[in-house]
Amino acid sequence: MAAETRPVPLVLPRRARVRIRGGGLSTLVFLIPLLLVFGVFSWIPIGRAVVMSFQETNLVTPSTFVGLQNFRDVLADPLLWTAVKNTLYFAFLALLFGYPVPLVAAVLMSEVRRFKSLYSALAYLPVVIPPVVAVLLWKFFYDAGPTGVFNTILGYVGIGPVSWLQDSASVMPSLVLEATWAAAGGTVIIYLAALTGVSTDLYEAAEIDRASIWRKVWHVTMPQLRGVLLITFILQIVGTAQVFLEPFLFTDGGPANSTTTLLLLIYNYAFANSLGGEYGMATALSIMLAVVLGLLSVLYFRLTRGWSKS
């Protein structure tokens, strides 16, 4: 245990010292609750996970150190590459559909004059619905029989029935559709807020120059939103790389592993075998994913450092 909590003291004093210089003892006192909460619920578990990735353990009997064996086991698992492929596919589809949709919605909504708050409320509503409830609801929509909700609607125009979740070709787009619906509202609100920050002078100047609406969007709105767009882009990538809820609840990774994502694989390592799972492998893969995403974010911010300044 002593070894496992080591990362925490490394972090605490340094932060504390900085704060003390800035504001004295009272700052530290105010900081303590936050540090404790972060320490107990974030840093200790993260530290323990790092340690566990080098161990073989069933959480009951004492654990033994196995060096890099867990990492080797994970890399040798053929399912890992399926999961990587599926996760990238999900991220790609989510980027393709999930990224532009909120932007377009926000731009359109900022243009309308009447019932503006109604539209933003409607856009945000899916975010309010608990994610599990949303997925269970969509399971009904996605019923593959001709009597399923979506298939009934499509049937009116002579399409279908579509297999939705029951076919490895259509299952991933189906998950992305639901995920986009569920998450778009939050991003729309961010864009709407950013749009109010765009100076109306710029639009007026564009109007004097007789710019069309598309030119206004392209030459005024987009450059003004650049900073926000860059942030939401990386947040989207990091978020979709950790997709778990949809494949877990919709398909449990099926059909035939076509929606087994990295996080679902991590979960399966740890929990799918009812007799004490491979917690070491699960934490090893978690750490590899965290490192990759961390590096990706650093790289991204380096590359785009100059772009966000307008």
Partner: protein, 452 residues
């Protein structure tokens, strides 16, 4: 009995009065014992009422023990999380396949001493008892129910399809033709298959046994995977034909246990394979209309090795329990699960309580003890039986005639898990290559067996 002082008093002096100072002293060591016990989730009101009444009866007979029901059922993907997180109740149930592993890893409490003291401890059916015993024969986990797989069918859909519900299919060819007829005439799934949460592998193994195969060969200590076999190929071919040639398996191919029970109870599925004792959960958790229900023995191929996969449920006690909780937990296991199988008064009390809440009494099960005890226990409760016995006859008449084969012993759930995508692939990809799927699954299973 929930009052702390009252319970402490009672326990402290063994049902006689005593001074309050004594009670205070004793309370810290023996105290009132609170035991959290598993109760099926999603039960209807009547079933919960029946359960609560059983709890009240137990608490009356055992002053000093406070029973707290906690919703729990075993599923492969949540059990380990609960075990690791310490959120399991003190008394919980696991399938036979998990018994030996949990015992070896000491993840459950050793209650063998307490179990040994029960009057019927030596009477367990030897095969059944094995599931709950450690290597040295000590019983750490108590078998409370045993099942053999059966073919459940919807009598109403059979009638609508022009089939005779009293003549359910007896061969796999008949299963196929009946399924097609149901699908064609009613638009519902003629036959559906469990595929997720390890149940895909569970049912695939069941069908493999029924076709005369085995998925694993044990030679002293060495286990060999036997997935790439003619029997398994025939099973998958049968499913493939039903799915793609006949289109008689409906449109949902991602069923877990709850999902398929729901679909069946709501009349969406003509036939499916699951444990023979499923009637209870279909009624209490999924609002099955009894009139719809039919069950028959699993069709077996005409091969010497063809048999019915059988398993069962073990009651276990949390490894974290102290001695007092262990003792109380075993009393609960005795009272709630087992006494009714061996003791007339207990059987009648259980049946009476259950029947009074309009819950099913008399659903078929395989005996945990010997056949004679089982038959006798059925006699005791005969007047309370409220399940549609006539509809269960195709199963109950023949269930003892079939060869019962236990589930694979090594890495059972892990092998089931890797068979899930195999059956999913056959049901969702028209061009799925059965030979290739089995070859890969066999290699993966062998790697698992070698590693463990």
């Amino acid at each position: 009995m929930k009052s702390l002082t009252a319970a402490a008093l009672v326990v402290a002096v063994g049902l006689t009065a005593c001074s309050s100072t004594d009670a205070g002293k004793q309370a810290t060591s023996t105290g009132p014992v609170t035991v959290k016990v598993a109760r099926d989730p999603g039960l209807d009101k009547g079933a919960i009422a029946a359960f609560d009444q059983r709890v009240a009866q137990f608490e009356k007979a055992n002053p000093g023990i406070d029973i707290v029901p906690q919703e729990y059922n075993w599923t492969a993907t949540t059990f380990t999380a609960q075990l690791a997180g310490g959120t399991l109740p003190d008394v919980f149930t696991v399938p036979f396949t998990d018994g030996r592993g949990l015992i070896e890893r000491k993840q459950i409490a050793d209650i063998s001493g307490l179990v040994g003291g029960l009057p019927y401890a030596s009477k367990f059916n030897a095969n059944v008892a094995k599931a709950g015993q450690a290597e040295d024969g000590k019983m750490w986990a108590v078998p409370i129910a045993a099942y053999g797989q059966a073919l459940h069918y919807n009598r109403t859909l059979f009638k609508q399809a022009g089939l005779d519900p009293d003549k359910p299919p007896a061969t796999w060819d008949e299963v196929r033709t009946d399924a097609k007829q149901i699908a064609d005439k009613t638009g519902k799934a003629g036959y559906a298959e469990l595929t997720t949460d390890n149940t895909g592998g569970w049912i695939l193994t069941t069908l493999d046994y029924a076709f005369g195969g085995r998925t694993e060969k044990l030679d002293s200590d060495k286990a060999t995977a036997e997935l790439d076999t003619p029997e398994m190929t025939a099973v998958l071919q049968q499913l493939k034909d039903m799915r793609w040639t006949d289109n008689s398996m409906g449109s949902n191919f991602l069923y877990d246990w709850n999902g398929i029970n729901q679909a069946f109870a709501s009349g969406q599925v003509g036939m499916y394979v699951s444990g023979g004792g499923n009637y209870g959960s279909l009624v209490t958790q999924n609002a099955l209309k009894p009139v719809d229900y039919g069950v028959t023995v699993l069709p077996l191929m005409d091969k010497p090795d063809a048999g019915v996969l059988g398993g069962g449920t073990l009651a276990t006690v949390s490894a974290k329990s102290d001695d007092a909780v262990k003792a109380a937990a075993v009393k609960w296991i005795d009272f709630y699960y087992l006494k009714k199988l061996t003791d007339k008064d207990a059987a009648v009390l259980d049946a009476k309580t259950t029947a009074a809440s309009k819950q099913p009494v008399g659903a078929p099960q395989l005996p945990v003890f010997d056949r004679a005890t089982y038959d006798e226990s059925l006699q005791w409760v005969a007047s309370y039986v409220n399940v549609p016995q006539q509809q269960l006859k195709p199963y109950t008449d023949k269930m003892f005639d079939q060869q019962l084969v236990t589930e694979p012993v090594r890495s059972t759930q892990e092998v089931y898990k890797l068979l899930d995508p195999v059956v999913q692939a056959v049901l969702t990809k028209k061009d799925a290559d059965i030979a290739d799927l089995l070859k890969k699954a066999d290699a993966e299973a062998q790697a698992l067996l070698d590693r463990n």
